[in-house]
Symmetry: C2
Subunit: 486 residues, 2 copies
Amino acid sequence: MSDMKKYALIKEFAPSWNNCIWRALAKALIVIFTLKGSIWAQSDPWAADKAFIKSIFDRALVQRQSYTWLRDLCYGAGHRLSGSVGAEKAIRWAKSVLDTCGLDSVWLQPVMVPRWERGAPEVVEVLGTPKRKAIRLPALALGGSVGTGGKPLIGEVLEVRSWEMLDSLGKANVSGKIVFFNRPMECRHVNTFEAYGGAVDQRVHGPSRAAKYGAVAVLVRSMGLSLDDYPHTGMLRYDSAYALIPAAAISTNAAEQLSALLEKEKTVRVSMTLHCRTLPDVLSYNVIGEIRGAEVPDKILLVGGHLDSWDVGHGAHDDGAGCVQSMEVLYLLRQLGYRPRHTLRCVLFMNEENGLRGGLAYATAAEEKEEIHLFALESDAGGFTPRGFSFDADPEMIDYYYEQILHYEEVLRPYGLLFWRGGSGADINPLRGQKGLLAGLRPDSQRYFDFHHTAADVFEAVHPRELQLGAASMTALIYLIDKYGL
Amino acid sequence: MSDMKKYALIKEFAPSWNNCIWRALAKALIVIFTLKGSIWAQSDPWAADKAFIKSIFDRALVQRQSYTWLRDLCYGAGHRLSGSVGAEKAIRWAKSVLDTCGLDSVWLQPVMVPRWERGAPEVVEVLGTPKRKAIRLPALALGGSVGTGGKPLIGEVLEVRSWEMLDSLGKANVSGKIVFFNRPMECRHVNTFEAYGGAVDQRVHGPSRAAKYGAVAVLVRSMGLSLDDYPHTGMLRYDSAYALIPAAAISTNAAEQLSALLEKEKTVRVSMTLHCRTLPDVLSYNVIGEIRGAEVPDKILLVGGHLDSWDVGHGAHDDGAGCVQSMEVLYLLRQLGYRPRHTLRCVLFMNEENGLRGGLAYATAAEEKEEIHLFALESDAGGFTPRGFSFDADPEMIDYYYEQILHYEEVLRPYGLLFWRGGSGADINPLRGQKGLLAGLRPDSQRYFDFHHTAADVFEAVHPRELQLGAASMTALIYLIDKYGL
């Protein structure tokens, strides 16, 4: 039992204590409870907490509030890239829902966001030869890409499987070509996010690294572990030292097909027509709701996800799920009559996908207002069955925090939840300077990259029970940290 | 570190020991390794095992052997109820595949199995009234049900939500009616198998308990947590003291619809036409393959699933998945050049669904041949992401076993696997008299009852990575138990 737990137990009993004798007796009892193997061992000091957490899970599974909200968000707003009509609708919707949740305050936090538009659907096509017809490749322009100026860009394709290969090919071979980055995600990783982390550099840095050697455009194999026909979009980052060249992702099946064609025909020419463009920044908002703490209102426990999504599908797993789960944390605790000690705040961040402006603006404002974030939890890894939480903090603090929370893991273990050290979430990462504890919900990752940044990421791809278990797990963790502190 | 582990380490190093001094030194080193916080703590005595287990997971995820086999089984044999053509095809297929796996022996174990046939598709229809048309309800006769004699059976529907309600309604209200058991699975359970266990008594015992009060037929709400249009079949058990009346499951949506109609119209008549029938028992087989143990060949570690399925869909999750995973355990260990100490046996049981004859025949034969089963592991809970293993044994032995295997849990924890006490599997349960350890693979259960015993349980419902992680997890556990014993 942590000191905090003992402290809290003492505090809870405080109102009924009339004198020091009772207090001493209670302390002695607590000491006895904690002695391993004592005759008191069967008395579980966490019994009331376990019962409350059971009531959280019960209500989440029966009521399915997140699932209902997710349907409303997906079908009401649809996809919602920063600055789009969908994003505006989502902001209005989220505020109006939070307004009905019985919170102490709900507000919009202004933030200027980049605005990138896909325009008319892109066309990527392998040119026909006398021996075969042209082949259309399912493709999506990468977020932030320049367009092809309203006309097809045609070039010979050069397949590249590593940075070393690109560098050794050099200007002589790359110049004037369309570079095709085709290093697959490594399927050996049990955690698919590791596979993503090992391949996404091609999408982020490929365009400028190819432009450095004179490439005219880039095609990237989609970031997915399945072989299918869905192209996966996502952000690129141009290096202003080089030409800004158009870039698109093609589906994994298309990547295999293109690679096989190159093997067979040696010279393969592709035509790319991208209509995308970047417009001036526009005003948007983070959506925030909070319940003010009864005992330490100046210390904040934050829970959140990001409200923006890519401009295909519904953005259901990424990150509609995290938004509705975060909203449900406050909603469930209110419904269950829990009176939090700390201030609980739900933040739906804008612009995680292509700028992180919402997360940065939130952290800047928090610093200006001298707000203290004791804990921040983000859900942005899909609405799948929760497997646990990963925790992150300032290196000076992480051991201390980890020691404090290990007791909570024991309480959550029956729900299949484990704790480990690792990343938290992109939107809350700018808060790390505050030296609080950061965490990420970690759902089962096996199916996530079948949907991530694709037209397949729709409401129907989310399982109601899996989504609800995530909401309940987050609520239970917030409850424990609120009640017993860090 | 368990004594077994130390023993095994000593044994492994044995060939290089020339005298007692070295032996004593090695023992001392092992003691030092196990001292918590010692300067040797960073040397991990499990390092070689962890590396081998990593190679198991790598190969399973890259090669996807179970997934390829599952496709062959689902599309080659299709569904495979005991005694059907599909079951025969599956037996031939499984034997031919095991014959290519480099095992020491592969054989068929004869077993007489019941044969029940659905016949032409069943028709369950709410009769029309002057105010509305007839309504067809998606339905499947329950396994083992009698038919309606080639003609419609028509009766008034009586909805029953509990056994108490049935008993209090009694003969006066039940006689001549079609009893409609409509108690839903309890969605509060995080483990959906608990929800199933709490509702399936209606399907198993409902027909005879209704017949006791003179009911003419039974409809049962499907055993599923989703609201959808798939009826779930499954076994009923007639009590020979009462009339054998026809029984069918209707989809959960149909159950809701029928219940709403009863609320509105009070008197609702349904027509049921079931063409099912029971034929004489026929000869079938368990399919068995084994690698003979190099050190203790008389002690068997068994891994298995059941080869039969219900007669709808592909029986992909139930239990094609468990079969191909069990086959892959032996295949992977052979491929990786592992030489087992114990005899490893893969058993694909026949007739789990409607008789358990395969499991019973296997246990009887084992007893006759005085075979010792040190450990048996069944996979029969779907091809979803593995969450761990549940362990079962004779009450006298379970504490001892559990103590032995907890070390293995630490090694498997990085793969997200936990151990707990619970049931193992229906087919291996008849072996419990041998007092060995029994275990069940426990995949994530959230989606299982969306597919169980329905036409939706097809190959495409299985995710390749989830299936493969199950195969790898089973292989890793068998490896640890083989190497370090129990």
